[in-house]
Symmetry: C6
Subunit: 76 residues, 6 copies
Protein backbone atom coordinates (compact mmCIF):
# COMPACT_ATOMS: atom_id res chain seq x y z
CA UNK A 1 0.00 0.00 0.00
CA UNK A 2 2.84 2.37 0.85
CA UNK A 3 4.35 1.87 -2.57
CA UNK A 4 1.45 2.78 -4.81
CA UNK A 5 -0.42 6.07 -4.93
CA UNK A 6 -4.09 5.51 -4.20
CA UNK A 7 -4.96 8.92 -2.73
CA UNK A 8 -3.43 11.72 -4.82
CA UNK A 9 -6.02 14.32 -3.77
CA UNK A 10 -9.17 14.87 -1.68
CA UNK A 11 -10.65 17.09 -4.40
CA UNK A 12 -13.47 15.68 -6.51
CA UNK A 13 -15.65 17.18 -9.22
CA UNK A 14 -19.04 16.52 -7.64
CA UNK A 15 -20.60 15.75 -4.22
CA UNK A 16 -21.35 12.25 -5.46
CA UNK A 17 -17.76 11.54 -6.51
CA UNK A 18 -16.78 12.83 -3.09
CA UNK A 19 -19.07 10.26 -1.53
CA UNK A 20 -17.44 7.53 -3.57
CA UNK A 21 -14.05 8.68 -2.33
CA UNK A 22 -15.40 8.52 1.25
CA UNK A 23 -16.37 4.90 0.61
CA UNK A 24 -12.85 4.25 -0.68
CA UNK A 25 -11.21 5.85 2.37
CA UNK A 26 -13.38 3.70 4.64
CA UNK A 27 -12.23 0.57 2.82
CA UNK A 28 -8.60 1.64 2.94
CA UNK A 29 -8.99 2.09 6.70
CA UNK A 30 -10.00 -1.55 6.89
CA UNK A 31 -7.24 -2.62 4.50
CA UNK A 32 -4.56 -0.79 6.46
CA UNK A 33 -5.47 -2.94 9.46
CA UNK A 34 -5.94 -6.20 7.55
CA UNK A 35 -3.98 -6.13 4.27
CA UNK A 36 -4.68 -9.79 3.43
CA UNK A 37 -7.26 -9.63 0.61
CA UNK A 38 -8.25 -13.27 1.06
CA UNK A 39 -9.21 -12.73 4.69
CA UNK A 40 -11.12 -9.57 3.73
CA UNK A 41 -13.12 -11.53 1.15
CA UNK A 42 -13.97 -14.16 3.73
CA UNK A 43 -15.13 -11.50 6.21
CA UNK A 44 -17.28 -9.63 3.71
CA UNK A 45 -20.50 -11.66 4.24
CA UNK A 46 -20.09 -11.15 7.99
CA UNK A 47 -20.86 -7.42 7.79
CA UNK A 48 -22.50 -7.11 4.36
CA UNK A 49 -25.29 -9.38 5.61
CA UNK A 50 -25.60 -7.89 9.06
CA UNK A 51 -27.72 -4.83 9.77
CA UNK A 52 -25.36 -3.68 12.53
CA UNK A 53 -22.32 -4.17 10.32
CA UNK A 54 -23.84 -2.14 7.50
CA UNK A 55 -24.85 0.71 9.81
CA UNK A 56 -21.31 0.77 11.22
CA UNK A 57 -19.88 0.88 7.69
CA UNK A 58 -22.21 3.77 6.85
CA UNK A 59 -20.98 5.60 9.96
CA UNK A 60 -17.34 5.39 8.87
CA UNK A 61 -18.33 6.66 5.42
CA UNK A 62 -20.19 9.58 7.06
CA UNK A 63 -17.05 10.55 9.00
CA UNK A 64 -14.86 10.40 5.89
CA UNK A 65 -17.47 12.32 3.92
CA UNK A 66 -17.22 15.14 6.49
CA UNK A 67 -13.51 15.39 5.69
CA UNK A 68 -13.96 15.29 1.92
CA UNK A 69 -16.88 17.74 1.92
CA UNK A 70 -14.84 20.28 3.87
CA UNK A 71 -11.85 19.77 1.55
CA UNK A 72 -14.09 20.58 -1.42
CA UNK A 73 -15.78 23.62 0.12
CA UNK A 74 -19.01 21.63 -0.02
CA UNK A 75 -18.99 21.99 -3.84
CA UNK A 76 -20.80 25.30 -3.49
CA UNK B 1 -24.82 3.50 -8.46
CA UNK B 2 -21.84 5.03 -10.21
CA UNK B 3 -23.86 5.49 -13.38
CA UNK B 4 -26.77 7.51 -12.12
CA UNK B 5 -26.69 10.88 -10.38
CA UNK B 6 -28.26 10.63 -6.95
CA UNK B 7 -26.36 13.45 -5.20
CA UNK B 8 -26.15 16.53 -7.42
CA UNK B 9 -25.78 18.97 -4.52
CA UNK B 10 -25.64 19.25 -0.73
CA UNK B 11 -27.71 22.44 -0.82
CA UNK B 12 -31.34 22.25 0.30
CA UNK B 13 -34.02 24.86 0.75
CA UNK B 14 -34.84 24.21 4.42
CA UNK B 15 -33.31 22.58 7.53
CA UNK B 16 -35.91 19.85 7.25
CA UNK B 17 -35.08 19.02 3.62
CA UNK B 18 -31.47 18.93 4.74
CA UNK B 19 -32.39 16.35 7.35
CA UNK B 20 -34.10 14.24 4.70
CA UNK B 21 -30.92 14.42 2.61
CA UNK B 22 -28.94 13.26 5.65
CA UNK B 23 -31.24 10.25 5.90
CA UNK B 24 -30.62 9.55 2.22
CA UNK B 25 -26.82 9.79 2.60
CA UNK B 26 -27.01 7.34 5.50
CA UNK B 27 -28.91 4.87 3.35
CA UNK B 28 -26.52 5.29 0.45
CA UNK B 29 -23.66 4.51 2.85
CA UNK B 30 -25.36 1.20 3.56
CA UNK B 31 -26.12 0.61 -0.10
CA UNK B 32 -22.55 1.27 -1.18
CA UNK B 33 -21.49 -1.60 1.08
CA UNK B 34 -24.38 -3.93 0.23
CA UNK B 35 -25.86 -3.06 -3.19
CA UNK B 36 -28.18 -6.08 -3.30
CA UNK B 37 -31.65 -4.63 -2.65
CA UNK B 38 -33.14 -8.02 -1.83
CA UNK B 39 -30.66 -8.58 1.00
CA UNK B 40 -31.26 -5.04 2.28
CA UNK B 41 -35.01 -5.72 2.42
CA UNK B 42 -34.41 -8.90 4.36
CA UNK B 43 -32.15 -7.09 6.86
CA UNK B 44 -34.54 -4.21 7.41
CA UNK B 45 -36.57 -5.79 10.26
CA UNK B 46 -33.27 -6.62 11.99
CA UNK B 47 -32.51 -2.97 12.76
CA UNK B 48 -35.90 -1.30 12.30
CA UNK B 49 -37.22 -3.43 15.17
CA UNK B 50 -34.19 -3.15 17.39
CA UNK B 51 -33.65 -0.23 19.75
CA UNK B 52 -29.87 -0.43 19.33
CA UNK B 53 -30.15 -0.59 15.56
CA UNK B 54 -32.39 2.47 15.45
CA UNK B 55 -30.12 4.50 17.72
CA UNK B 56 -27.15 3.56 15.53
CA UNK B 57 -29.08 4.63 12.43
CA UNK B 58 -29.91 7.95 14.11
CA UNK B 59 -26.22 8.43 14.88
CA UNK B 60 -25.21 8.08 11.22
CA UNK B 61 -27.95 10.56 10.26
CA UNK B 62 -26.61 13.00 12.90
CA UNK B 63 -23.11 12.79 11.37
CA UNK B 64 -24.40 13.38 7.86
CA UNK B 65 -26.60 16.21 9.09
CA UNK B 66 -23.48 17.93 10.46
CA UNK B 67 -22.05 17.90 6.94
CA UNK B 68 -25.23 19.13 5.27
CA UNK B 69 -25.89 21.83 7.86
CA UNK B 70 -22.41 23.25 7.37
CA UNK B 71 -22.80 23.12 3.59
CA UNK B 72 -25.97 25.19 3.90
CA UNK B 73 -24.59 27.75 6.34
CA UNK B 74 -27.11 26.41 8.85
CA UNK B 75 -29.92 28.02 6.78
CA UNK B 76 -29.40 31.26 8.72
CA UNK C 1 -43.17 13.17 7.95
CA UNK C 2 -42.43 14.78 4.61
CA UNK C 3 -45.76 16.56 4.62
CA UNK C 4 -45.59 18.44 7.88
CA UNK C 5 -43.01 20.99 8.97
CA UNK C 6 -41.27 19.83 12.13
CA UNK C 7 -37.91 21.60 11.67
CA UNK C 8 -38.41 25.18 10.49
CA UNK C 9 -35.10 26.44 11.90
CA UNK C 10 -32.01 25.41 13.86
CA UNK C 11 -32.02 28.70 15.76
CA UNK C 12 -33.13 28.68 19.40
CA UNK C 13 -33.28 31.35 22.05
CA UNK C 14 -31.10 29.64 24.67
CA UNK C 15 -28.49 26.85 24.97
CA UNK C 16 -31.05 24.78 26.82
CA UNK C 17 -33.71 25.11 24.11
CA UNK C 18 -30.97 24.12 21.68
CA UNK C 19 -30.37 20.97 23.71
CA UNK C 20 -34.07 20.15 23.56
CA UNK C 21 -33.95 20.55 19.79
CA UNK C 22 -30.97 18.17 19.69
CA UNK C 23 -33.08 15.61 21.57
CA UNK C 24 -35.83 16.11 19.01
CA UNK C 25 -33.46 15.65 16.04
CA UNK C 26 -32.20 12.43 17.61
CA UNK C 27 -35.74 11.12 17.89
CA UNK C 28 -36.57 12.15 14.34
CA UNK C 29 -33.51 10.20 13.19
CA UNK C 30 -35.03 7.12 14.79
CA UNK C 31 -38.48 7.90 13.41
CA UNK C 32 -37.18 8.37 9.87
CA UNK C 33 -35.92 4.78 10.02
CA UNK C 34 -38.92 3.31 11.84
CA UNK C 35 -42.02 5.49 11.28
CA UNK C 36 -44.43 3.05 12.97
CA UNK C 37 -45.23 4.70 16.32
CA UNK C 38 -46.60 1.46 17.80
CA UNK C 39 -43.31 -0.36 17.21
CA UNK C 40 -41.39 2.61 18.63
CA UNK C 41 -43.49 2.47 21.81
CA UNK C 42 -42.82 -1.23 22.17
CA UNK C 43 -39.05 -0.71 21.73
CA UNK C 44 -38.84 2.15 24.23
CA UNK C 45 -38.29 0.01 27.38
CA UNK C 46 -35.53 -1.83 25.49
CA UNK C 47 -33.21 1.20 25.51
CA UNK C 48 -34.74 3.40 28.22
CA UNK C 49 -33.99 0.65 30.73
CA UNK C 50 -30.57 -0.28 29.41
CA UNK C 51 -27.43 1.58 30.43
CA UNK C 52 -25.82 0.97 27.01
CA UNK C 53 -28.94 2.13 25.19
CA UNK C 54 -29.11 5.35 27.21
CA UNK C 55 -25.43 6.14 26.67
CA UNK C 56 -25.91 5.57 22.93
CA UNK C 57 -28.92 7.89 22.94
CA UNK C 58 -26.88 10.53 24.76
CA UNK C 59 -24.17 10.20 22.10
CA UNK C 60 -26.58 10.94 19.26
CA UNK C 61 -27.86 13.97 21.19
CA UNK C 62 -24.26 15.16 21.65
CA UNK C 63 -23.66 14.97 17.89
CA UNK C 64 -26.84 16.88 17.10
CA UNK C 65 -26.03 19.43 19.78
CA UNK C 66 -22.72 20.12 18.03
CA UNK C 67 -24.69 21.06 14.93
CA UNK C 68 -27.21 23.21 16.76
CA UNK C 69 -24.59 24.98 18.89
CA UNK C 70 -22.62 25.95 15.80
CA UNK C 71 -25.79 27.16 14.07
CA UNK C 72 -26.48 29.43 17.03
CA UNK C 73 -22.95 30.80 17.35
CA UNK C 74 -22.83 29.08 20.73
CA UNK C 75 -25.32 31.68 22.07
CA UNK C 76 -22.38 33.98 22.91
CA UNK D 1 -36.68 19.40 32.86
CA UNK D 2 -38.35 21.89 30.54
CA UNK D 3 -39.45 24.00 33.46
CA UNK D 4 -36.16 24.65 35.21
CA UNK D 5 -33.06 26.28 33.80
CA UNK D 6 -30.11 23.91 33.96
CA UNK D 7 -28.08 25.22 31.01
CA UNK D 8 -27.97 29.01 31.02
CA UNK D 9 -24.68 29.24 29.10
CA UNK D 10 -21.91 27.18 27.49
CA UNK D 11 -19.27 29.61 28.76
CA UNK D 12 -17.06 28.53 31.65
CA UNK D 13 -14.13 30.15 33.39
CA UNK D 14 -11.58 27.38 32.88
CA UNK D 15 -10.97 24.30 30.67
CA UNK D 16 -11.64 22.12 33.69
CA UNK D 17 -15.01 23.70 34.47
CA UNK D 18 -15.79 23.21 30.79
CA UNK D 19 -15.04 19.52 31.19
CA UNK D 20 -17.39 19.33 34.14
CA UNK D 21 -20.10 20.96 32.02
CA UNK D 22 -19.45 18.33 29.32
CA UNK D 23 -20.04 15.63 31.94
CA UNK D 24 -23.29 17.35 32.89
CA UNK D 25 -24.48 17.57 29.28
CA UNK D 26 -23.77 13.86 28.85
CA UNK D 27 -25.88 13.06 31.88
CA UNK D 28 -28.70 15.33 30.73
CA UNK D 29 -28.67 13.46 27.42
CA UNK D 30 -29.34 10.27 29.36
CA UNK D 31 -31.94 11.96 31.55
CA UNK D 32 -33.83 13.39 28.58
CA UNK D 33 -34.33 9.82 27.38
CA UNK D 34 -35.05 8.29 30.79
CA UNK D 35 -36.31 10.95 33.23
CA UNK D 36 -37.15 8.45 35.99
CA UNK D 37 -34.41 8.99 38.58
CA UNK D 38 -35.15 5.68 40.32
CA UNK D 39 -34.52 3.70 37.14
CA UNK D 40 -31.34 5.70 36.48
CA UNK D 41 -30.06 4.82 39.95
CA UNK D 42 -30.77 1.16 39.35
CA UNK D 43 -28.90 1.24 36.00
CA UNK D 44 -25.86 3.04 37.36
CA UNK D 45 -23.91 -0.08 38.46
CA UNK D 46 -24.57 -1.56 35.01
CA UNK D 47 -22.24 0.92 33.27
CA UNK D 48 -20.18 2.27 36.15
CA UNK D 49 -18.83 -1.23 36.71
CA UNK D 50 -18.38 -2.15 33.08
CA UNK D 51 -15.27 -1.22 31.11
CA UNK D 52 -17.26 -0.87 27.88
CA UNK D 53 -19.89 1.26 29.58
CA UNK D 54 -17.27 3.62 31.02
CA UNK D 55 -15.48 4.00 27.70
CA UNK D 56 -18.81 4.78 26.03
CA UNK D 57 -19.56 7.38 28.70
CA UNK D 58 -16.13 8.94 28.14
CA UNK D 59 -16.87 9.11 24.42
CA UNK D 60 -20.06 11.11 24.95
CA UNK D 61 -18.17 13.47 27.26
CA UNK D 62 -15.48 13.91 24.57
CA UNK D 63 -18.14 14.91 22.02
CA UNK D 64 -19.74 17.41 24.38
CA UNK D 65 -16.32 18.75 25.33
CA UNK D 66 -15.68 19.51 21.64
CA UNK D 67 -18.78 21.71 21.67
CA UNK D 68 -17.92 23.47 24.92
CA UNK D 69 -14.27 24.01 23.98
CA UNK D 70 -15.27 25.67 20.73
CA UNK D 71 -17.85 27.83 22.53
CA UNK D 72 -15.10 29.07 24.84
CA UNK D 73 -12.50 29.71 22.15
CA UNK D 74 -10.45 26.97 23.78
CA UNK D 75 -9.80 29.30 26.76
CA UNK D 76 -6.81 30.76 24.91
CA UNK E 1 -11.86 15.93 41.34
CA UNK E 2 -13.67 19.24 41.60
CA UNK E 3 -11.24 20.41 44.26
CA UNK E 4 -7.93 19.95 42.51
CA UNK E 5 -6.79 21.49 39.25
CA UNK E 6 -5.94 18.79 36.73
CA UNK E 7 -6.67 20.70 33.49
CA UNK E 8 -5.24 24.22 33.67
CA UNK E 9 -4.93 24.58 29.88
CA UNK E 10 -5.44 22.80 26.54
CA UNK E 11 -2.21 24.26 25.18
CA UNK E 12 0.80 21.97 24.82
CA UNK E 13 4.26 22.47 23.41
CA UNK E 14 4.22 19.69 20.83
CA UNK E 15 1.74 17.48 18.92
CA UNK E 16 2.92 14.53 20.98
CA UNK E 17 2.31 16.23 24.33
CA UNK E 18 -1.11 17.12 22.97
CA UNK E 19 -1.72 13.44 22.31
CA UNK E 20 -0.75 12.62 25.87
CA UNK E 21 -3.23 15.23 27.09
CA UNK E 22 -5.92 13.60 24.91
CA UNK E 23 -5.17 10.29 26.65
CA UNK E 24 -5.54 12.04 30.00
CA UNK E 25 -8.88 13.63 29.06
CA UNK E 26 -10.16 10.21 27.99
CA UNK E 27 -9.21 8.76 31.35
CA UNK E 28 -10.78 11.67 33.23
CA UNK E 29 -13.99 11.02 31.28
CA UNK E 30 -13.98 7.51 32.70
CA UNK E 31 -13.06 8.73 36.18
CA UNK E 32 -15.82 11.31 36.23
CA UNK E 33 -18.30 8.47 35.76
CA UNK E 34 -16.60 6.01 38.11
CA UNK E 35 -14.44 7.85 40.68
CA UNK E 36 -13.65 4.73 42.72
CA UNK E 37 -10.02 3.96 41.86
CA UNK E 38 -10.25 0.41 43.21
CA UNK E 39 -13.09 -0.46 40.82
CA UNK E 40 -11.19 1.15 37.94
CA UNK E 41 -8.15 -1.01 38.68
CA UNK E 42 -10.32 -4.12 38.71
CA UNK E 43 -11.89 -3.19 35.35
CA UNK E 44 -8.60 -2.41 33.66
CA UNK E 45 -7.84 -5.95 32.41
CA UNK E 46 -11.37 -6.08 30.99
CA UNK E 47 -10.60 -3.54 28.26
CA UNK E 48 -6.79 -3.52 28.19
CA UNK E 49 -6.91 -7.17 27.13
CA UNK E 50 -9.79 -6.89 24.74
CA UNK E 51 -9.34 -5.82 21.13
CA UNK E 52 -12.75 -4.12 21.06
CA UNK E 53 -12.07 -2.32 24.33
CA UNK E 54 -8.73 -1.00 23.08
CA UNK E 55 -10.21 0.22 19.79
CA UNK E 56 -12.97 1.98 21.72
CA UNK E 57 -10.37 3.62 23.97
CA UNK E 58 -8.44 4.76 20.89
CA UNK E 59 -11.63 6.27 19.49
CA UNK E 60 -12.19 8.42 22.59
CA UNK E 61 -8.56 9.56 22.41
CA UNK E 62 -9.07 10.49 18.73
CA UNK E 63 -12.08 12.66 19.64
CA UNK E 64 -10.21 14.42 22.41
CA UNK E 65 -7.19 14.86 20.15
CA UNK E 66 -9.42 16.71 17.66
CA UNK E 67 -10.24 19.20 20.42
CA UNK E 68 -6.65 19.64 21.57
CA UNK E 69 -5.26 19.92 18.04
CA UNK E 70 -7.70 22.70 17.22
CA UNK E 71 -6.90 24.48 20.49
CA UNK E 72 -3.22 24.45 19.54
CA UNK E 73 -3.69 25.58 15.95
CA UNK E 74 -2.34 22.17 14.92
CA UNK E 75 1.13 23.23 16.14
CA UNK E 76 1.80 24.79 12.74
CA UNK F 1 6.48 6.22 24.91
CA UNK F 2 6.94 9.50 26.77
CA UNK F 3 10.67 9.36 26.27
CA UNK F 4 10.90 9.01 22.51
CA UNK F 5 9.55 11.38 19.89
CA UNK F 6 7.08 9.59 17.64
CA UNK F 7 4.89 12.55 16.62
CA UNK F 8 7.03 15.57 15.74
CA UNK F 9 4.41 17.13 13.44
CA UNK F 10 0.94 16.65 11.96
CA UNK F 11 2.10 18.00 8.60
CA UNK F 12 2.59 15.54 5.74
CA UNK F 13 3.52 15.98 2.11
CA UNK F 14 0.50 14.26 0.57
CA UNK F 15 -3.08 13.20 1.47
CA UNK F 16 -1.93 9.59 1.39
CA UNK F 17 0.94 10.15 3.82
CA UNK F 18 -1.59 11.92 6.01
CA UNK F 19 -3.74 8.81 5.94
CA UNK F 20 -0.77 6.71 7.02
CA UNK F 21 -0.21 9.09 9.91
CA UNK F 22 -3.88 8.69 10.88
CA UNK F 23 -3.34 4.93 10.99
CA UNK F 24 -0.31 5.49 13.21
CA UNK F 25 -2.23 7.77 15.61
CA UNK F 26 -4.96 5.14 15.88
CA UNK F 27 -2.38 2.52 16.83
CA UNK F 28 -0.72 4.83 19.33
CA UNK F 29 -4.15 5.34 20.92
CA UNK F 30 -4.30 1.59 21.46
CA UNK F 31 -0.71 1.43 22.65
CA UNK F 32 -1.20 4.23 25.17
CA UNK F 33 -3.88 2.09 26.80
CA UNK F 34 -2.05 -1.23 26.50
CA UNK F 35 1.73 -0.69 26.20
CA UNK F 36 2.59 -4.40 26.44
CA UNK F 37 3.58 -5.35 22.88
CA UNK F 38 3.21 -9.07 23.57
CA UNK F 39 -0.42 -8.68 24.60
CA UNK F 40 -1.08 -6.47 21.56
CA UNK F 41 0.31 -9.18 19.28
CA UNK F 42 -1.92 -11.77 20.91
CA UNK F 43 -4.99 -9.55 20.46
CA UNK F 44 -4.29 -8.74 16.84
CA UNK F 45 -6.12 -11.74 15.30
CA UNK F 46 -9.12 -10.88 17.49
CA UNK F 47 -9.91 -7.71 15.53
CA UNK F 48 -7.96 -8.21 12.30
CA UNK F 49 -10.13 -11.25 11.59
CA UNK F 50 -13.41 -9.76 12.72
CA UNK F 51 -15.57 -7.62 10.45
CA UNK F 52 -16.80 -5.53 13.38
CA UNK F 53 -13.28 -5.03 14.70
CA UNK F 54 -12.02 -3.87 11.31
CA UNK F 55 -14.89 -1.43 10.84
CA UNK F 56 -14.23 -0.02 14.32
CA UNK F 57 -10.53 0.37 13.46
CA UNK F 58 -11.47 2.18 10.24
CA UNK F 59 -13.69 4.52 12.26
CA UNK F 60 -10.83 5.56 14.54
CA UNK F 61 -8.64 6.16 11.48
CA UNK F 62 -11.42 8.32 9.97
CA UNK F 63 -11.53 10.47 13.12
CA UNK F 64 -7.77 10.92 13.17
CA UNK F 65 -7.76 11.65 9.45
CA UNK F 66 -10.18 14.53 10.09
CA UNK F 67 -7.61 16.04 12.43
CA UNK F 68 -4.67 15.54 10.08
CA UNK F 69 -6.56 16.78 7.01
CA UNK F 70 -7.48 20.00 8.80
CA UNK F 71 -3.90 20.45 10.01
CA UNK F 72 -2.71 20.21 6.40
CA UNK F 73 -5.32 22.53 4.92
CA UNK F 74 -6.62 19.51 3.02
CA UNK F 75 -3.47 19.59 0.83
CA UNK F 76 -5.21 22.06 -1.48
Amino acid sequence: MANETWLPTLITKTPQEGFELAVKLSRMGVKSTQPDVEILKKLRPEYANSADGLTAASQVIALNYQTISTANGYWR
